[in-house]
Every structure is written in structure tokens, then in C-alpha cells.
């Protein structure tokens, strides 16, 4: 079987790289697939068009794939994830004013430590409440997103209630920077290139890389409808194979220039090649001037086992939904969330080339809080409710 044509929706972001390279560097063609990549402007559009069958597959926020499978926030449509397109890739940027306030509140502590910055945030929140100021406002990209969970996890670790003490608003990434400069938000959590853009304009400072909060969190996935994939085992297998080969190509430093040039094309990601290159190198300007920070894990496209859809990751995402009142806690919903992630399809497609997780699969590597156990979500959530220590 060859020459299968797949219509795939994507949002122009760095973690669509494996899809774009698979399509534009011939990895899909070698697998007998022709990928028609359709650029979209909102996650709602990608989800709806996948759900109603206008797309065969989609680049999707990992939590959206699970929410769709559980029927929360929108129509119920069981989706399957045979490949994780990217882990991490986000950062928290704050206004210079909030950055100063945090440093002041940290009382000599180092705010690059999220435990210290979170407690400093709690003090800033308390101080604002005492003088009757409006609550701080933070932007994130979608209710079902790691951006949302990352901000909430960090805030809660400092004793801040993200629903009570903070205004969390959804903002399309292209509007984040404007909203920060017009002071409609005091900070945001978003992926590349928007953190860098805010820093370059002198209106924001990167407070944390996403990896400061979670060492390895599933960010974007390749999702297909369960019903669609049922009689297309072979197509899914070949697509996973093509994405795996594309990710390997992306991760070879010798290919960086070519990869970046392909991704920067106007009909693909359409931003300056340097910005994409900086993202893949994990090197971001964090403050005005020549202040750079590097983290090789800043974004993971297939590296360190990031492409394998781990059941524990699905359970962890579901746990975040329960923690923040997006979903009730039940054994059925947990099972449905896990059923969405399909490491078996990934392993089947790649055989001995399958890469299992380099960090323990059952741990997201959070900077604080209880260790996550995918088999005991209730216990994990109960442990999270413990009073914050060292306040």
C-alpha cells in the first residue's frame, strides 16, 4: 500500500517540526504517505476539524486530545495519540514591574528558583490585596494546555490560588506580547517565539523556563480519531515511522540550518530562522541586553524518549484537569484518558527503534510536590492538597 494522502492540521509553532520535516524533507513520501499540512489559527479550529473529519490527523495540545476523548469542554470524540510531537518548549515571562516586585518580595532570595519565585508571588499577591489593587493577570493559550497547568502548578506551590488570587486569561499567542506591553496582563506562559519577542522589545523578562517547573511534560501530540485509525493500522504505523525519522533528522546538529530553513517557510511556521534556531538550541534571551540562558531540554522533539506517548503522562494530564476542576475524578475517566495515549502503537510502528523515556516514565519531574503515580491519581491529588511547607 502506498500513496495514501493525509490532511493534517497544525498551528505554526516550533513543535510542529516533526510533521513539517516529515512532509517537506521526504520522510513521509518514503513511507508512502503524502501529507497535506493545513495551517490553522486556533486550537478550537484544529480540534473541530479533526473531530468532524476534515482532518485525518492533527498537531494538538496534549490535554486537548484527552479532553476531547473524555468529552469535557466540548463534544466527546475519542482520539488516539500514537506519537508525541514535542515535550516542554514553554516559558513564563513577566513584565519588568512584576519582575522587580518579585525580586523585592524574595528578600534576597534567587527568583530563578521556582520555589522562591512562587513564594515571592504569594507575597506580591497578598500585598496587592491589602492595598486594594486589582489581582495580577496572567495569559495562557488554552484552558486545556500545559501552559495553563504549568502556571497553576507554580502558583499553587507558593500558596497562591490561581482561581481566587489571580486572573488567568486565554490569549492567542500572537496577542500575548501586545497584551503585556499594554499592561492588560502582568505575565504569561507561552511557547516560542513569543517569550523572546517580549524580551527583545524590552517589555518582558523570562522568569522561568517550563523545564524549571516540569522536567519533561508532554506538550503537543499527533492525534487521530480512534474510529478513523481502527482500519488504518498500516497508515498510522507508517506515519509514526515518518515522524520518528523526521525527529531524528531534526536532532542531528548538522541538519540544523536546513531544518530551520524548511520550518521558517511562510506557509509553515513563517518566523525568522534565527528565532527557530534559538528555540531548538534551547538558548533564549531572558532579559534585555546580552542576557541569555540555555537549557538543552528547553524543547524536546523526540529526544530523551519524548515521542513515546506514556500512559503515565496521560494520567498526569488528567490529574491536572481534576486538580483544577475541569474534570471529575473517576476510575472510568482515568481509564479513558490513558486509553487516549497509545505507546503500543508507537512501539509497534518502530520496533527496536522505539525510544523509551530517559527519565522515569512515571514522573513528570516537577520542581516540588509529591511524586506522581499514574496508578494512584487520588493519592497524588490528596498529597498536593497538603499545606505548603516553608511558607
Amino acid at each position: 500500500m502506498s500513496g495514501d494522502s493525509l490532511r493534517i492540521g497544525f498551528i505554526p509553532l516550533a513543535d510542529a517540526a516533526a510533521l513539517i520535516i516529515a512532509a517537506d524533507k521526504g520522510f513521509a513520501a518514503k513511507a508512502g504517505l503524502s501529507l497535506d499540512l493545513v495551517r490553522e489559527v486556533s486550537w478550537s479550529n484544529v480540534r473541530d476539524k479533526l473531530n468532524i473529519g476534515l482532518f485525518d490527523a492533527a498537531h494538538l495540545l496534549a490535554p486537548v486530545a484527552i479532553a476531547s476523548s473524555l468529552g469535557i469542554g466540548h463534544l466527546k470524540m475519542p482520539l488516539l495519540v500514537p506519537f508525541v510531537l514535542g515535550a516542554n518548549g514553554n516559558a513564563i515571562t513577566v513584565s519588568p514591574a512584576l519582575h522587580s516586585a518579585l525580586i523585592l518580595a524574595a528578600d534576597g532570595g534567587d527568583v530563578s528558583d521556582p520555589k522562591i519565585s512562587a513564594r515571592a508571588l504569594a507575597r506580591v499577591v497578598g500585598e496587592r490585596r491589602r492595598r486594594g489593587a486589582d489581582p495580577l493577570t496572567f495569559g495562557m493559550t488554552f484552558p486545556f494546555s500545559c501552559h495553563n497547568y504549568l502556571l497553576r502548578f507554580w502558583m499553587a506551590a507558593g500558596g497562591v490560588d490561581p482561581d481566587e488570587d489571580i486572573r488567568l486569561v486565554v490569549l492567542p499567542p500572537p496577542y500575548m506580547v501586545d497584551s503585556l506591553s499594554s499592561r492588560q496582563v502582568d505575565g504569561f506562559c507561552v511557547g516560542a517565539p513569543w517569550n523572546s519577542v517580549a524580551v527583545d522589545l524590552g517589555i518582558g523578562q523570562v522568569l522561568h523556563f517550563g523545564t524549571d517547573i516540569f522536567a519533561k511534560a508532554p506538550e503537543k501530540v499527533l492525534a487521530v480519531r480512534a474510529a478513523w485509525s481502527a482500519n488504518r493500522d498500516d497508515v498510522v504505523r507508517r506515519l509514526v515511522g515518518a515522524l520518528h525519522n523526521a525527529a531524528d533528522f531534526i536532532n542531528d546538529p548538522d541538519n540544523l540550518d536546513e531544518v530551520v530553513a524548511l520550518l521558517a517557510a511562510p506557509q509553515r511556521i513563517g518566523v525568522a530562522p534565527e528565532i527557530i534556531a534559538r528555540t531548538f538550541e534551547g538558548r533564549l534571551r531572558v532579559a534585555p541586553g546580552n542576557s541569555f540562558r540555555s537549557d538543552p531540554d528547553y524543547i524536546l522533539i523526540g529526544r530523551k524518549g519524548a515521542a513515546r506517548p506514556e500512559l503515565a503522562d496521560a494520567a498526569w494530564l488528567y490529574a491536572q484537569m481534576v486538580r483544577w476542576d475541569q474534570a471529575p475524578l473517576s476510575a472510568e475517566l482515568l481509564a479513558a484518558a490513558k486509553a487516549c495515549f497509545r505507546p503500543d502503537l508507537y512501539d509497534l510502528a518502530l520496533g527496536s527503534a522505539a525510544k523509551s523515556s530517559a527519565v522515569p516514565a512515571n514522573d513528570i519531574g516537577a520542581f516540588t510536590g509529591p511524586r506522581f503515580d499514574g496508578d494512584d491519581v487520588a493519592g497524588y491529588l490528596a498529597a498536593l492538597k497538603m499545606p505548603v511547607k516553608n511558607q
Binding site: S44, P143, D163, V170, S179
Partner: protein, 208 residues
């Protein structure tokens, strides 16, 4: 006319003119076409939001029963927040269509529009609104492509006229002969007449 309560289940007739409808569309022409259509159908409370800054706050201040948004709008994701149970959200919003309406979603997405309603409002009561949105969006798309075709035709005619003029001058032939020459060349080269005419115009510019 039934009174609109500030919450709870509403008892509105299928075409209740009191329904408060908000249109979020950055395309002023399409928004106007849609607003006109809704007013013609008897809906008197139709507001268009042009600026998407602070969209949620604007929507809450208008307190709509129905929100219509175009799919080219990145701010569609902002509306996803209205589904959330949160203190920031005053009135929960539901998707216009539910599980049983795959065909309605498909038609809407196809037309490039999406609609949301406040929770508690029965969807069949405002089915007419979605149908109207779909037909107006489709009409706008047709209008746009017709306009584009008309503009293309106009610019093609202009370039053909210029090429004819150049040929008439250089080759000292009549307008009909100049056109015949363009047409013959187009046929031989398997191109459109306008393309050959454009080449003539370009060549003439270069040789000036």
C-alpha cells in the same frame, strides 16, 4: 415578549427578537451582511465586536445569549475559557450544537463560522440563527470569489488592451489583427491570452 431573567432556564420563543446576539468578526463587510440578515429576520439586539483586545471582558459587558465568531479569528480560543467553571466566568457558555448535531457543526465549520450559546438556552430555539449565519457566511464567500473573479477579469482586459496597443504601434497592424496575434500565440504556447499579453507588456517595458 417573555422577560429575560438574569440566569436560569429561559423561556424564549423560537424567533424571540429579544435574544442578545454578539458577532465577533474582524471582517467588517461580512459582519455587516450577517447583522443585516439577523435584523431582517427580526432579531433587534445584534452587536458587533470589532476589537478583540480584552474580548472576554467585552463579551461579559454585553452579556449575550448567543455569540457568533468567524473561524479565521485566533480569538476563538479565548471563547474556550467560557466553558470553564471558574470565578472569572460569570455565565457558563455551551457550544451551540451538541453531540447529536454533527451535521450542523460540519455545515458551520465548512462555512467558516462557529456559534456559542449560554447554558440553559435550548438549541432548537435558536437553530434559525445558526442556519442564517451559515447561509450568510456562504453568501459572503461566494460574493468574495465573484468579486475576485471580476477584478481578475478587469485587470486581464487592461493588460490585453495595453498589449494590443504595443503591437499595433510596433507592427503597424489593426486592433483586430493585434488581438488575433495574441490569441494565436496563446494557442500555440498553450497559455492564456492575458499571460501572453503580460509578456508583451513586460518585454516592451524592458525595451524602453
Amino acid at each position: 415578549m417573555p422577560k429575560i431573567a438574569s440566569g436560569g432556564l429561559r423561556t424564549l420563543s423560537p424567533m424571540d427578537p429579544a435574544l442578545n446576539i454578539v458577532i465577533v468578526d474582524e471582517n467588517p463587510v461580512r459582519a455587516a451582511i450577517l447583522a443585516d440578515g439577523l435584523r431582517e429576520a427580526g432579531y433587534t439586539r445584534v452587536t458587533r465586536i470589532e476589537e478583540t483586545t480584552n474580548l472576554l471582558a467585552r463579551i461579559y459587558s454585553l452579556d449575550p445569549d448567543v455569540i457568533v465568531i468567524d473561524l479565521e479569528n485566533p480569538s476563538r480560543d479565548v471563547l474556550a475559557q467560557m466553558f470553564q467553571v471558574s470565578r472569572a466566568v460569570k455565565r457558563p457558555i455551551a457550544m451551540f450544537v451538541d453531540q447529536s448535531d454533527a451535521a450542523a457543526i460540519e455545515a458551520a465549520v465548512d462555512a467558516g463560522v462557529s456559534a456559542y450559546i449560554v447554558d440553559g438556552l435550548k438549541k432548537e430555539r435558536i437553530k434559525g440563527i445558526l442556519d442564517l449565519c451559515i447561509s450568510r457566511f456562504n453568501a459572503f464567500a461566494r460574493l468574495s470569489s465573484e468579486l475576485e473573479r471580476a477584478q481578475t477579469a478587469l485587470s486581464e482586459r487592461k493588460v490585453i488592451d495595453r498589449a494590443k496597443g504595443i503591437l499595433m504601434k510596433i507592427k503597424n497592424v489593426s486592433e483586430a489583427d493585434a488581438y488575433a496575434l495574441l490569441r494565436k500565440t496563446a494557442m500555440n504556447e498553450n497559455k492564456k491570452i492575458a499571460e501572453v499579453a503580460q509578456s508583451v507588456v513586460t518585454a516592451a517595458e524592458l525595451l524602453k
